[in-house]
């Protein structure tokens, strides 16, 4: 009789190749996703050591961070970005790695296309040289971000020496109210536990509110867990998961599918499994949230105010003063009075079809404020096609939103989509760090519905009282 194990314990145990004495356990990696920014130096390392890629068929690449979101075929004007994209093409060619290139109908943000193509499956270990790899944990996979040296390590060995993280259970009871989304839940969790609250842990999300989330919602929740410092985050797979994965291109088919689902059904934490930390969240208490500072934990309800800080340590007060100065905000200002210049709907957090549907529902029949420039950047070419089949692009365009090609875009501003100094943006992305969206840019993180509403109103507004057309 083995001890009861968590979902994380089970996937971990299943993937241990070897535990060398005096060293870290070797963890086998089922799926390695690669993009242009964090891989060139890893391939150089392989070449220098004359090492091949061990499992090119478990490795998939795309270009997302640098790509322009203007019409495809527009020349890449930044020669350094262009070289980085060509370098990935050359490396994939040389090492036999499938690449969803700029002209591919499957191109998109790496954390959008993995699930979309059925590459992401329950029970897998998945890595990528990108911190938001935690996204894939929504399928009950162990998925985490790695640095470039580790990218090289996985390319060469398909393994990583890993220290096992601790188990954290975040149990979310109740139901999210109308107009309150997985994004608000993610921000609410970070507000509650802090930007390093899950450092050293793998989070398992459970509870009624999580079970009732779509796969898109679960991806948003797991995606943002890195902003609480988590190594990874996961949701045990269920019928919602299986229905999403079924019939996708790389998913098991026919009899293999039935066997896979049988296997995946065992992927849940055993009753009595022990967690090193447990957190309770009540979803019914959450309102649409808006960040006001320069980290994702600095967040208040849309009905709230920019905080006034009196007490606390000197260092904390100084940090908040510094944030307010950077953000150009006065303590005590009602959030709904904050006007925005730009709106960005996109990123690996919120660029999937469900996100675009939610934003379009708000935008329908309205016009973007004359003072606002708003853009919608679908997460992938597939999302873009599906959205266009539903006519979402027309709703956005008629309202005055720009409808663009897929990529990471203004989430991190590596391509030409950036904020100008002092510009204020309502963004569905994941990081409101100083300069993240462009030097001097001021980012407020919100849900897709809240972003669309801000674009139209010209300032933050509570989407719960929105008049839908």
């Amino acid at each position: 009789m083995t001890n009861p194990r968590t979902l994380f314990d089970k996937i971990w145990d299943e993937h241990i190749v070897h535990v060398p004495s005096g060293r870290l356990p070797l963890l086998y990696i089922d799926l390695h996703l690669v993009h242009e920014v964090t891989s060139p130096q890893a391939f150089d390392g392989l070449r220098a050591a004359h090492r091949p890629v061990r499992q090119p068929q478990r490795t998939f690449a795309t270009v997302d961070h640098n790509v322009p979101t203007e019409a495809r075929g527009t020349p890449i004007l930044d020669p350094i970005a262009g070289l980085q994209i060509q370098t990935l093409q050359r490396n994939c060619n040389e090492f036999g790695i499938p690449l969803f290139d700029l002209d591919s109908p499957d191109q998109g943000i790496v954390h959008v296309i993995g699930p979309e193509l059925g590459l992401t499956q329950p029970g897998m270990t998945i890595v990528c040289g990108d911190s938001h790899t935690s996204t894939h944990g929504a399928f009950g996979a162990l998925a985490f971000g790695i640095g470039t040296s580790e990218v090289e390590h996985v390319l060469a060995t398909q393994c990583l020496p890993q220290r096992k993280s601790k188990n954290m259970l975040i149990s979310v009871s109740g139901r999210l109210g109308e107009g309150v989304t997985a994004k608000d839940l993610a921000l609410g969790v970070i507000r509650q536990i802090g930007t390093d609250g899950a450092a050293g842990y793998v989070i398992e999300y459970a509870g009624d509110a999580v079970r009732s989330l779509s796969m898109e919602g679960r991806m948003t929740l797991c995606n943002m867990s890195i902003e609480a410092g988590a190594r990874a985050a996961m949701v045990a797979p269920d019928e919602t998961t299986f229905a999403y994965v079924k019939k996708r291109r790389f998913a098991p088919q026919g009899r293999d599918w039935d066997q896979a689902v049988t296997r995946w059904r065992s992927l849940s934490s055993d009753p009595g499994a022990i967690y090193d930390a447990t957190v309770q969240v009540d979803a019914s208490q959450l309102a649409p949230l808006v960040t006001w500072g320069t980290n994702p934990g600095m967040v208040v309800p849309v009905t709230g105010h920019v905080p006034v800080v009196n007490g606390g340590a000197d260092a904390d007060r100084q940090a908040i003063t510094r944030m307010l100065e950077y953000m150009g905000l006065e303590a005590g200002t009602p959030i709904e009075q904050i006007a925005v210049d730009r709106v960005f709907i996109g990123s690996c957090t919120n660029s999937r079809l469900e996100d675009l549907r939610a934003a379009a529902r708000v935008a329908k029949g309205y016009r973007v404020s004359a003072k606002v420039r708003a853009m919608v950047v679908p997460g992938s070419q597939a999302v873009k096609r599906e959205a266009e089949q539903e006519g979402l692009h027309r709703i956005f365009q008629e309202a005055g939103f720009e409808w663009r090609e897929s990529g990471c875009s203004m989430c991190l501003g590596m391509n030409p989509d950036i904020l100008q100094p002092g510009e204020r943006c309502a963004s569905t992305s994941n990081r409101n760090f100083e300069g993240r969206q462009g030097r001097g840019g001021r980012t407020h993180l919100v849900s897709p519905m809240m972003a669309a509403a801000a674009a139209i109103a010209g300032h933050f507004t509570d989407v719960r009282s929105w008049k839908f057309h």
């Binding site: 068929q57 590459l119 985490f144 790695i146 020496p161 450092a199």
Partner: protein, 199 residues
């Protein structure tokens, strides 16, 4: 990778919490395909004004901290993006070790791969080091990985913890990929027992 054993060097303070990797190396420098030459871009937006001129109020620009090889910072250092460019820029700038109350996971892993030591000390110990670095001209610390101790010439001494394997890799400057490949037969056996399940 250069081994890290005992290092004595000047200390530069950057006493802020949650310093993210976007601050350490802003995105515009991630397009480079090289692994070297990132030092000049370290903390670019904090070190330089919009016009590109060095900001004299930023600690790393002050002559008293020039040549520093030890950085002392607030908690959750290196949070955010996984970009290893952050470590490459710190190392290229000359930092051999970073001292803070806590580090983000991926950042700390990236440090080990580049021979940069992350030293976790208490908030109080970090504050004491920051104060001394600000008050004592040319303040130096010794970081001793063999004994897992940090000390200065003014009587400060503190122990730190580090897992044995990480310590071993840093002390020896080991090629971790080479170590893993010693288990090639084990990896092959695992692969034979766990076939690829992508359709």
């Amino acid at each position: 990778m250069d081994p890290f054993r005992v290092h004595t060097g000047r200390v530069a303070p950057l006493h802020r919490a949650n310093i993210d990797t976007d601050q350490i190396i802003p995105k515009q420098f991630l397009k480079r395909i090289e692994r070297t030459g990132f030092g000049e871009f370290l903390f670019f937006d904090w070190r330089r004004g919009q016009d590109g001129a060095l900001d004299p109020s930023f600690s790393l620009n002050q002559p008293r901290y020039s040549g520093a090889s030890l950085l002392v910072a607030g908690k959750n250092f290196g949070c955010g993006s996984s970009r290893e460019h952050a470590v490459w820029s710190l190392a290229d700038f000359g930092f051999r070790a970073i001292i803070a109350p806590s580090f983000a996971d991926i950042f700390a892993n990236n440090c080990v791969k580049n021979g940069v030591l992350t030293v976790v000390l208490s908030e109080a110990q970090v504050e004491e080091i920051v104060r001394k670095a600000e008050q004592i001209p040319a303040y130096e610390l010794t970081v001793d990985l063999e004994k897992c101790k940090v000390h200065d010439r003014q009587g400060f001494s503190a122990s730190f913890q580090i897992d044995e394997f990480t310590r071993h890799c840093l002390l020896e400057g080991l090629d971790e990929i080479g170590l893993t490949l010693q288990h090639e037969s084990g990896i092959a056996a695992y692969e034979a027992a766990h076939p690829l399940r992508l359709a």
